[in-house]
């Protein structure tokens, strides 16, 4: 079974939503540097933010036609 990635538009929208979730988690720890905000920011916030960036990079790679270029 071949894994098909969603369209670039959908990837970008997902990346935006994830970034919108990650940003407040990280900002929360800066505003209120107590145990839970810091733990959440350094784990969950970072993980969601990284996933968002990865989706964005996949969209960029697709936009640049990297897969076709690599095949050549």
């Amino acid at each position: 079974m071949k894994l098909r990635l969603p369209s670039t538009e959908r990837l970008l929208r997902a990346a935006c939503v994830l970034a919108l979730v990650a940003l407040p988690l990280m900002v929360w720890s800066i505003v209120d540097p107590t145990v839970w905000p810091v733990l959440v920011a350094l784990s969950l916030g970072q993980a969601i933010g990284t996933l968002s960036l990865l989706l964005f990079l996949v969209a960029v790679a697709r936009d640049l036609g990297l897969r076709a270029k690599l095949r050549k």
């Binding site: 538009e9 935006c16 919108l20 940003l23 720890s29 800066i30 540097p33 920011a41």
Partner: protein
Amino acid sequence: MAAAILITFLVRRPALEGTTKLWLLMGIGVFPIATAATANVSGFAATQSRTFCGSCHVMIPHASDSNDPHSTSLSAIHARSDQFGHDNCYTCHKDYGMYGYVLTKMGGMRHVYLYLTKYHSMPLEEAKHDIRVVSPVPNENCMSCHTTTAPGWNKVPDHASALSDVRKGALSCASPGCHGYAHPYTKLGKELPAK
């Protein structure tokens, strides 16, 4: 700023042309990375403060003692020094050496894990009795400020006679007969044999 860019993209659904991509690069890449870096720096700085250590209820007695301006415990005396200040727990308990910061943070994660799984609902009186430091604070930590090579240090007869044991770590600086335990609630157990 990043949130404004992202919400605009989600609501307005602009065509994916060059300008939009550039805005997305800022909204998903540049600004969130800057936010994450700031959160990391401020988060790691926060984890070094006494307030942070004392936010787990089992550490409240130690933190309160350090906060007490009238306390004569080693930890409280050091907390009143500008070089330790609000970070006195971290300054004494951290690992010194090349990988000290990483090792200390890994040890801290172990504390978080143990607190969440084991000590979270432990009554304070029980915690005072049961929770012990995993290993005594090594003399190297004391010696990072109180050098044993200074003439003033060696002028103290007890220092001079115990020099070799202190340097080897065979005799703890924070032990009865020397400077006493660091905290009023320091306990001896199997893992902390009396020296």
